[in-house]
Amino acid sequence: MKKNEYIGALQSALTKAKINDIEEILADYEQHFVQKMEAGYSEEEIAAQLGRPDRIAAQFAEITPQQMEAVRMGALPAIGLGVAAVPVVLLFILGALWGICMAIFAFASAICGGFLIGKINLAKIIPTMPYSSALLFGIALMALAILTAAATMLYFAYLSHLWRQYFNWQRRTINGESSTERSQQQNQSKRTLQTLIRISLILFGVFAVAGYLNSVILSGQLEFWHAWHWFA
């Protein structure tokens, strides 16, 4: 194959594989031809050593960042998201709603914890109790808030991972491509979140129990909430 034929074949293979910035990629291969020709190779030899254009396009397709794909998916409603995909999409929406519930729970825990610690009693939602108990329960709630928030983030990361996998699977099914595995780069932040969850879980347990024990001792009753007339 001559240089121009090769570049042309590569261009159409890249276009078919829906790769971005094709001009930039082609410029790399053109430069490669020029430099190897300077080194004394013939155009045919260079083309043969480069490898088949469709294989190269497939390699570019494998490494295309996922965000770009997501954008392209959004721009192409004709992706084949047929009637069969609707329940799946609904499932993902439900999943996202659950995540939002978790986030709201985390937020509410943080606010209640803040009220307890800061002795704020807006709208009288905090029942009467000694400040030592309020402080312990407040810290427990804060830990619970962090726990839920971290869990929510992990949950959403997992959900979006599933979502991308589903889209890629759809795309591959439609385009008849072979499956490609992509490496995860967010492992670091995932581990951080998991550590955060473990620590906040322990804090929550310790402070909730401490708060309960403190209340029992101060009120002299196992069911301390009766002593302080919480539900009266």
Partner: protein, 108 residues
Amino acid sequence: MNIQYKKGVLELCVLAKLSFEDCYGYDISETISQHIDISDGTVYPILRKLKSDGLVTTYLSEESGGPPRKYYRLTELGRKEYIQAKREWLDFTKKVAKILSEDMNEEK
């Protein structure tokens, strides 16, 4: 050699070459294909991935009259990643070699 093996290490080889000096894509493919049997064209998808991951960057440089040519350069992040990946790889291959040699001893 198994193509799956190669795929994993080519990225590391590209980073290694760039850790010595800024290169043309052509330089990198020449260096690697001297030692490993790959298609020259394989280097560019790898360079693109490294660029999109922020490990390498490119710049154009005028050369004696002709059109400007593209150089690849390792970023600070790329250098850090390379040092770590290199250490992991060397450690890994050492262990594999150990396992293989123990295996051979058993066969004897």
